[in-house]
Amino acid sequence: MKADILVIEDAEHINELICINLETAGYTAVPFYDGDAVSEHLKQEVQYDLALLDVMLPGKDGFALLPELKAKNIPVIFLTARGDLASKVKGLKEGAEDYLVKPFEMLELLVRVEKVLGRYHKEEECLRVRDVEIYPKERVVKKAGVEIPFKPMEFDCLMLLVKYKNIAISREELLNHLWGVEFEGETRTIDVHIARIRKKLDFGDIIKTVPRIGYRLEDRK
C-alpha cells in the first residue's frame, strides 16, 4: 500500500537502521550497499517511489548515481555526513529533492520522506485505524461511520500520530509540529489533547503512553 523506497548506503548498520525506520512507518525499504550494484539493478524493469542516497559510496558515488535515478524518474534525498554547503548545493542543483545530514533523527527522516512523496503522489484520501476513518482534506473523523466533531488542534495531533503510527512521538516534537518551533508552551497541554482524543475515539489502548518519551499510536496488522 505504501511507497517502495531504495536505501543506498554503504555502512551496513546505518542502512539497516534506515530500513527499520521506514518499515516501521509502513514503507517498503530495499537496501543497497554499493553504487555499482544499484546501477546494475536500475537497468532492470523496476520502479521505486523514492531513493535515499549516500554521497560517499564504494563503486559509483552518489553524484554519479543521481542522473541514473533521475532517468528512472525516482526522486532522490541525499544522505550526507558532510554538513558543508558546497556538497548540499551541488546535490540540490543536480536534481536531488532534499538532503539529510548525518546524524539525523527518525522523525526528521520520515517527515522529509513524506514531504518528497507528497510532492510526487497525491495524499491518501482516507486513513484508517481500526473502525476510525480520517479524511485529511475534509478534516473529518468518522468512527464506525458516525462523524465525530474535532477541534483543529486535536485533529492535527491525531493526524501526526496516525501518520507516524507505531513510532513514539515525544511531547516536544508534538509541540513543535503543532504550534511551531517558537512555541514555548507547556508539554502538559499535549497530555490534555491526547486525553480528549482518547475519550472521543475510545483509543485508550491504541494511543499508548511511552514513559519519559511521549505517545505512540499502535496499529499492527
Binding site: A11, L17, N21, P58, K102, P103, M106, A168, R216
Partner: protein, 474 residues
C-alpha cells in the same frame, strides 16, 4: 617631527648661538681696541696742547701779576690752534669752554685721585699729574672726556664725540647677525636635503616593515649600501626571512591540525548516527526481540570503536608533542614474543600463523611504545591477509619489520596511508573495526625512536612495513 627636521633645526640653532657669541665677543674686543687707540691718541693731543699752553703762558708769566691779568693771559694763550674741543680751568674754575657741553668732572676727580693714578699709568701718562678719563653717554651721543691738571693753577679738559664708533659697531653687529641668519637658512635647506638623502634607506625599511605588518611576509629591502643603514637593512631582511619561515611552518602545522580535526569529526559522525538512531529506535518503537538485541549489540560495538579511536587519538596527540622518550635496552626476541602473545587470540580466529626471525639483538627503546607499534602492524597485516596466511616479524641490522602475504597497498595510496584517518578501503576497514589511525601512530613511534616508517608493498603479494633506523642509534 621628522628626524631630518630635528637634526637640521638642532644644527642651525647651535650654529646661530655659537656664531652670535663669537661675533659679540669679537665686536666687543674690536670696539675696546678702537676706544683704547682713540684714548691714547687723544691723550697725546691733550698733553701736546697742555705743553704748548704752558710754554706760551710761562713766556710771559714773570710780567703778570694779579688774578685778572693771569686769567687774561691764559685766555690769550689758549686761543688759536690750541683749545679746540677743550676746556681750560683756572684754579678748578672754568675759564674757557670751547665745547658745546658743560662738564661737572671736577668734583668726581677729587674723590678718585687714587684710581686716576692707575689709569694714567695705563695710558702711559705722567702719574704725578692728576689726570682722569671718562666715558659719558648723553642720549645717543657718546663722549670721551680727558682731564689733566697742568699745574696747580691750570687744568685742562678735552672731549671727543665717539658716537661713530658705537654706531658703526652696532651696524657691524646687525650686518653680522643678518649674515648669520642667511647662512643659517642656507644651512637648514642643505642639511634637510642631505639628511633626507641619508635617511632614504630608512624609508625603505619602514615601508618593508609596514608590508610585513600587513601580512605580506615576502616583503624585503632590495637596495642597500655598505654603511650602517645597509647593515640594518641586511639584518631586517634576515629577520623577515626568519619570520616568514616561522609563519609558514606554523600555517602548515595549523593546516595539518585543521585537516586532522575535520577528519576526526567526519569519522565521529558515522558511529554517532548509528548510535543515536538505534537508541532512538529502541526508545520509540516496539521492536522484535532479535532486532532489539541487534540494535543494542550495534550500539555497544560502535561505542567500543569510538573508545579505541579516542585512545589512539590521545596517543597520537601525546606522542606528537613529545621529542624525547626514556629508552631502556630491550631484547628484540622478547619484544617479538610479547607482541605474539598479545595478538595470538586475534590471529587464531583467522588461522594466521606468526613467525619470528630474530637473533640476540638488543635495541634501545620504550617497551610499551614498541609493543604498540608491533601490534598495530600485526593487526594491519591480519586484516590484509587471507585465512591461513603467515605474518613474519623480522629483526634486521637496520630495523624492525612486519611482513605479510596480504593484498598489498595500492601505489596511489602508499603516500597518504600514514595520514590519520586515511583508509584505502573505507567500508571494509570499518567492518574490521579500524579507525585509520594505526599507521599515523606507528610513524610517530618510529620518529621518537630515531627511525622512520618504511612501507614496501606489492599488490597481491604482500607488504613489508617497519621502522628503519635513520642513523646508527642502536
Amino acid at each position: 617631527m621628522k628626524l631630518s627636521t630635528k637634526i637640521s633645526a638642532a644644527a642651525v640653532g647651535l650654529l646661530l648661538l655659537l656664531s652670535q657669541i663669537f661675533s659679540i665677543w669679537n665686536l666687543y674686543k674690536t670696539k675696546e681696541q678702537i676706544l683704547n687707540n682713540t684714548v691714547q691718541f687723544e691723550w697725546k693731543e691733550l698733553e701736546k696742547d697742555a705743553r704748548e699752553f704752558e710754554e706760551k703762558y710761562k713766556s710771559k708769566e714773570n710780567y703778570i701779576t694779579g688774578e685778572r691779568a693771569q686769567k687774561y693771559w691764559a685766555r690769550v694763550s689758549f686761543q688759536g690752534n690750541l683749545g679746540i674741543d677743550s676746556v681750560l680751568y683756572y684754579k678748578k674754575q672754568e675759564l674757557i669752554n670751547n665745547t658745546p657741553y658743560v662738564f661737572a668732572v671736577i668734583d668726581q676727580i677729587k674723590q678718585k685721585t687714587g684710581e686716576a693714578a692707575l689709569e694714567a699709568q695705563k695710558y702711559g701718562m705722567d702719574a704725578d699729574r692728576c689726570s682722569r678719563t671718562f666715558l659719558e653717554e648723553i642720549g645717543e651721543t657718546h663722549l670721551l672726556i680727558l682731564y689733566q691738571e697742568i699745574n696747580e693753577t691750570f687744568q685742562m679738559l678735552r672731549s671727543r664725540d665717539i658716537s661713530d664708533i658705537y654706531r658703526e659697531s652696532r651696524e657691524i653687529f646687525l650686518q653680522g647677525m643678518a649674515a648669520a641668519f642667511l647662512l643659517a637658512f642656507l644651512l637648514l635647506v642643505v642639511l634637510a636635503i642631505a639628511v633626507k638623502r641619508i635617511l632614504r634607506p630608512f624609508y625603505g625599511l619602514r615601508d618593508a616593515a609596514n608590508r610585513i605588518a600587513a601580512g605580506d611576509y615576502g616583503g624585503r629591502i632590495e637596495k642597500y649600501g655598505n654603511d650602517e643603514v645597509g647593515e640594518v637593512a641586511q639584518s631586517f631582511n634576515c629577520m623577515a626571512q626568519c619570520v616568514q619561515d616561522h609563519v609558514s611552518r606554523m600555517e602548515e602545522t595549523n593546516e595539518k591540525q585543521r585537516r586532522l580535526l575535520g577528519a576526526l569529526s567526519h569519522e565521529l559522525k558515522t558511529p554517532m548516527t548509528g548510535i543515536q538512531g538505534y537508541a532512538e529506535l529502541l526508545q520509540k518503537v516496539e521492536l522484535s526481540p532479535e532486532r532489539q538485541a541487534k540494535a543494542l549489540n550495534y550500539i555497544e560495538e560502535e561505542c567500543k570503536r569510538l573508545s579505541r579511536l579516542s585512545v589512539k587519538m590521545l596517543q597520537i596527540v601525546e606522542l606528537s608533542g613529545e621529542e624525547q622518550i626514556e629508552k631502556e635496552p630491550l631484547s628484540v626476541r622478547e619484544l617479538f614474543e610479547q607482541a605474539e602473545e598479545i595478538t595470538r587470540h586475534r590471529l587464531k580466529k583467522k588461522h594466521i600463523s606468526l613467525q619470528i626471525e630474530a637473533g640476540e639483538e638488543m635495541i634501545e627503546g620504550d617497551r610499551d611504545m614498541l609493543l604498540s607499534f608491533l601490534t598495530n602492524l600485526i593487526d594491519n597485516a591480519r586484516k590484509a591477509g587471507s585465512e591461513g596466511s603467515t605474518i613474519c616479524l623480522i629483526a634486521k641490522e637496520d630495523g624492525l619489520f612486519v611482513q605479510d602475504e596480504g593484498r598489498g597497498i595500492p601505489k596511489e595510496d602508499a603516500a597518504r596511508i600514514v595520514e590519520p584517518f586515511y583508509m584505502v578501503d573505507k567500508s571494509r576497514a570499518r567492518k574490521e573495526g579500524g579507525a585509520g589511525l594505526g599507521l599515523a601512530l606507528c610513524s610517530q613511534i618510529a620518529r621518537l625512536h630515531g627511525a622512520r616508517l618504511q612501507i614496501e608493498s606489492r599488490m597481491g603479494e604482500g607488504s613489508c612495513i617497519g621502522m628503519r633506523w635513520e642513523t646508527d642509534v642502536r
